[in-house]
Every structure is written in C-alpha cells, then in structure tokens.
Amino acid sequence: MSSTVTRIRLGAVAVAASVAVLAGCSSSAPSAKTSAASCAPAKGKVTLQYWNTVPGMDKVVALWNKKNPDIQVETKNISNDQYGTLGNALKAGKAPDLAQVGYDELPNLRTQSAFVDASACSAATAAKSKFVPWTWSQTSFGNTGVFALPQDTGPMALYVRSDIFKKYGVAIPTTWDEYAAAAQKLHKADSKLDITFFDPNNAEWFNGLLWQSDSQMYGYSGGKWQVTVASQQSKQVADYWQKLISGKLVRTDLAHGSTQMYAAYQQNQIASYIGAAWGYSMFRDNLPKQAGKWTIVPMPTWGSDGASGDWGGSTVAFMKGSKHLYESVKFNTWLNTDPEALALENQLGGLYPAADAGLQLPALSKGVPYYNNEKIFDVFAASSKKINTSFAWGPTQKTVNLALQDAMAKAAAGDGTLSDALAAAQAAALKSMKDQAIPAAAGK
C-alpha cells in the first residue's frame, strides 16, 4: 500500500514515537562544502544500506542479492517515523546509501544537505528517458543534477459509484462545473448522500488538486524562493471547494483512510472519491461488498487541456555520505526500471511505477475484478502523462501543510474560508523559510 496513507494517518505507535521525539532535539552540524561525487566502482564486495517504507521490499531486494553477489543490499523498514528516522541518522552521520523520500520532502531534505548528486555516474543521467517526465523534474530539481530516482507516483482520477449515479440519473461529470452540479443533484435526491468528502487535515490531497489546476506553489528567481502558495489559480480551487463546503454539499467530518471514512462509504453516504492510483486497493480491500459498484474515470478538469494532478509517490534518494555511489546507482536503476523488480513491487507493495516500463506491466494492463474487470490502470497511465512537469515543492513543505490544514479545518467549521487558508499557508511558508535562513519572498 502507499506510503502516503500510512504516513499521513494514525498509529498509536506514531503518537508514542512523537512523544519520544519531543525529548530529544538535534542540532544541524555545519557541513563542509560537498565535493563533486566521483563514480568509481569499488574493488571487491560492497554492502549497501537501503531504508524504505514499502511492504515486501525485502523480497525485491532478496531477488537482487541473489543475482548480484558483489553488491549486497540490506534493507530497513522505517515506515514508523520515516523522516524523523532519516533526519536523526543524517545528523548523526549515519545515513544509509539510499533512502525512500516522498517528492514533497525532496527540497526539504536537500536544504539539509541530505543528498549527493549522482550525475557523475552516466548510468544515473541516462535513466532520465525511462521515467514519466514530471517525476524526473522533481528528482533533478528542474536542473541537471540527479539526487534521487523516481519510484512510484500517485496520478489522480475520479472513483465513481456508478450505481448511485445511475439510480438518480446523474451523468458522470467530466469537468469541475459538472461535478458541482452533480453534487447538488445527488444531495437533492437524497439528503443523506454527498458526492464526496473534503478532509481538512489532508493538505497532500489538496495540493494534488492545486497541482492539477496549473498552480505553482514556488518558484526561484533573484536569489530567492518565490512563494506563490496563494496564487490566483490556487484561489480558484479554494473558492470552488469553499462553495461546496458552504452549500453543505460535501462532508467535512471524515479523515482520509479512517474507519469512519470507510463506514460512510459502506453506508452509501458518499458517491465518489477523488483519489490516486494507489487508492484502488484501499477500496478493494476495505469495502469488499461494494465490488462491481465502482468505476474509475479521469479527474474532472478545469480547462480543455485535461491536466491531471499527482497525490503521493516516492523516490529513492542518493544519500550524502555514501561511499559506493557507482553501486548505489546500479542498484537504484535496477530497482526502479527493471520490469521484474517493478512487477514485484507492484504485487507486494502496491506501488504504481514511475518508470514508463512499469506502466506496461502485465498486471497493469489487465482488467481488475473489483472494478467490473475494467482496465482502470489505463486511466491512471493517461492521467500520469497529463501531469504538469514544472510543478515544484517548497523546502518547508511539512510546516506549510500543517498551517494549511489548521486553517482549512477552521474554514470547514465555518471560521474563515479556504482562500484564507491559502493565505495562512503562504504566511507560514515565508515565516518557516525565514526561520531556516532560506531566502524567500512573496511571489506574484
């Protein structure tokens, strides 16, 4: 299953762990200038450390280890507190050679000097052509470096309870205007029925919607980060959802991935779900009784270009301090482009590949029984190709997300609007960057 869900949501363990984190703060050491990484192969046998959060990854690595006796890889699952573990290891100088990092956390870790540029290895730069375009611009930070290789993505689509739409004679929407109209019709037909839910505590999801709308949250010019979290395009999305919330046409009391959310779907109170590729197994596994009732169609669009968004997904980053860059690149390339590896990751971990080769996997071109044997992955593959490649995350994304969530929750409770929430997130972005001594200004 996707790291996103587990990362965002719940866990007594996570709470307990965070209590522990409170006790021990760490310092950032003044680091020496990163010297250009060299890419010489090691003599003799090498052991690499690879930390990740993907279920079943140990089995994928076992396959590699069997085939490559000279480059052995050891894995460690860090899904409990992924970035806390990584951050602490970095500060202690004990980071692994390779680690799983979400796209939205890449700039943050880079400002902590967590990565090594692998572009000295020709195999790393050559991998560019093998990945869905937007993923590469994120791992290279829109430049020439190679700091990570893309692993999986979360292209978004619309999950629809076709039986409910049919029952009330509502056409499946293709644009956001149609979606709002459908929301009204469904709610009118059954006052206990809503078209979807808006989880104010899920900034990652909302960011996916912003991405789709052609918003740019950040830019860089004049030696400063340009913060445009509250841009006109973003406000358009915020105003749209504010209307649905104010009109009581969407539920706002359900946390994504919670038991409560599944219960609401189970009780036929919600007719659609705006989700990512990795979400297909959530419904299949948690709502077995609704087999055959769901269909997956492209996300409703804003304009005629049919742009889509991404929610979640991860990369495998080259971590600073690795002494075996050549071998790391070799393993990382295999892990994320080899059809056999990708098939296994998809089967065991539910990963939706970032590599083009992965999109042609047999498992991803078959019909899926739960979804009426529809070829749902064709929808996600098409979505994947329509994701804005120039979208970039900020270096303090986690703080910005928290501020956005807090303010979105207020809006959902009738205190302020989602537009205000964007303004709060914009302010938090500027403040947090200032705190980290990252030069930033409010962009247009």
């Binding site: 409170l22 703060c25 219960a263």
Partner: protein, 315 residues
C-alpha cells in the same frame, strides 16, 4: 552485603553520623554505590537532555547562499525566546489548556476525593473490588484510552452517539466547541483513579481513635468526612493538584489521537503539540525554546500553587 547492611544501620543509629560521613572514605563509597543507580540515569536522561534543550534554544540557523545553501547553527542569544513570546499560536495553546485545567482539574479531583471518602466509610461493601474498578483506567495506556474513546465519540461508529441520536439529541463530540471537553473527559477517566488512590492511602493512615473521639463528641459521618478527613489529607490533595497541573501543561496524547478523527484539533492545539509540529519542520531550536518556556511555566505554576497552599495544608 551484610557488611554494608550493618554499616548502614550504624550510620542511621549514630547521632553524629551525618557529619562524620563527609570525611569517611569507605562510607562515602557505600553511599555512592547506593546512589549511582538513580544518579546515572538521572544525569543521562534528565539533566543532559534538559541542558541540551537549553543550549539548542539559544542557537539559530544560518545558511550559505543559493537556493539550496548549506546550513549551520550559531549563537543567537534570546532570539528564539523572542519568537516564542510573539507566537500567537503558542499563547492560544496556553490559553486553551488553561481553560482545560481550570475546569478539568477541580472536577477530576473532586470526583477522586468523593470516591476515596466513599471507599473509606464502613458502609460500603466489596471495597477492594470498587477500589480496583476505580483504579483500572489508570492501567490503560493513555494512547490506547484515547483511541478507545475516539471510537465512542465517532458519529459513524459509536453506539453511544447512535443511542443519543435515537432519543433526539444530536451530540457532536468532535465539533469545534466540544472537542476540548471530549479530550478533558478522556483525561478525567484516565487519572481519577490514580488520584483517588493517593487520597485513599492518606485516609488509611489516619488513626481510628480520631474517629472514635469525634463520634463520642457526636459528629456525624458527614462531619467526620469534611471536618476531619479532608483537612488531614489536604497535603495529598495539594500533591495531586500539582501533578494535575503538570499533566495538563504537558497534554499531548489525548488530543493527538483525537486529531486523527477530528479536524477541529489543530496541529498547535496544546503547547507540546506546537513544539512537536515546530520540531517536525526541522526548527529544533525554536522547539527547544518552546519546551523551555513550557517547563518554566509549569515550574512557576506548580511551585506557586504549593507555596500558596502550603501553610493551610500543613506542608
């Protein structure tokens, strides 16, 4: 072993022992041996982290230029503290738990006192069963308790909410106005038994003769409870109040768990949650300053309360 034991006994018995200990070689060694199991962890896991937090709180991050310039920390004086005092989120979280404490602590301690007094009367049967039942919630880890209650609060899953809906009440335990009190309810459920037990053990140590004398003077059970028992166990009540003040200022687990199902708990709901949110954004220095300020406020409040009540409580 016996050697140490007899020597220790001698130390206790000899009247001038204390003074002589300072110079005594073998005796100092013995004391050291006894103290070390406490002292070493105390230094390692208490003093060192506190010192480290203090040190972090006077550091600031600076950076060499560029979009992804390298960062380093340097001495920043009270810059981080200035930011804490200017942080509206911090003060509203303090205000929130202030309100929480003013209501929750007296309610909880009153209930605990009443249960302790009931358990102490000769009227009640099955005393030990009641005592265990009242104490039981304390045995449940806080996070587990919060998860359990979050199911009872949830409109989708809770039989309690269903029942209340059926009789026409429409409770929203997770709504903006109610969620603070839902968290308070969890704390009360968790800690009442613990506080009750402290008060109850104090009651147990009151000599029975006092009651007999009071009875002879014609005091009712009611009068004995309020005029004799409560004043005598006042030090325990003060103690539990101080514990509760500290606990309130450190509130974290209950709201953090409820946050998973209610968006009406923000990431900065309590001071500790704020410190955690700031730390998760890599701003360890600011988080350290927040932690130090929370510690100082806790110290002032709990010792202030002790001073205020010490004379009356006979501490």
């Amino acid at each position: 072993m016996t050697d140490i034991a007899t020597r220790a006994t001698r130390v206790v018995r000899s009247p001038g022992g204390r003074r002589r200990l300072n110079g005594g070689g073998p005796r100092a060694g013995t004391i050291f041996a006894f103290v070390i199991p406490f002292f070493l962890p105390f230094v390692l896991f208490y003093l060192v982290p506190v010192g480290y937090a203090l040190w972090q709180s006077v550091r600031v991050v600076r950076r060499t230029g560029g979009q992804y310039g390298t960062s380093y920390t340097t001495f920043g004086g009270f810059e981080q503290y200035g930011k804490v005092f200017q942080n509206d989120e911090f003060w509203s979280s303090i205000g929130r738990i202030g309100l929480f404490g003013i209501v929750q602590v007296p309610v909880m301690l009153f209930v605990a006192l009443v249960i302790a007094l009931l358990l102490d009367t000769p009227l009640l049967r099955l005393k030990s069963a009641f005592r265990i039942a009242a104490f039981m919630p304390y045995a449940v880890p806080g996070v587990i308790a919060a998860i359990m209650w979050s199911y009872l609060y949830s409109p989708q899953l809770s039989p309690v909410v269903d029942l209340l809906n059926d009789i026409g009440l429409k409770p929203d335990f997770l709504g903006p106005g109610a969620v603070l009190w839902s968290a308070a309810n969890i704390s009360t459920w968790l800690w009442t038994g613990y506080n009750m037990l402290i008060m109850f053990s104090a009651l147990q140590s009151i000599p029975q003769e006092l009651y007999e004398a009071a009875k002879l003077d014609g005091a009712s059970n009611w009068a004995i409870a309020w005029r004799i028992k409560v004043p005598i166990i006042a030090p325990s009540i003060v103690l539990t109040t101080v514990f509760s003040i500290i606990g309130t200022l450190q509130l974290y687990a209950e709201p953090a768990v409820l946050r998973q199902i209610s968006s009406n708990i923000s990431s900065t709901f309590t001071p500790n949650m704020l410190a955690y949110a700031v730390a998760s954004g890599n701003n360890y220095q600011q988080a350290a300053a927040i932690s130090v300020v929370i510690a100082v406020i806790t110290f002032v409040l709990s010792f202030g309360f002790m001073r205020l009540t010490s004379k009356r409580a006979g501490l």
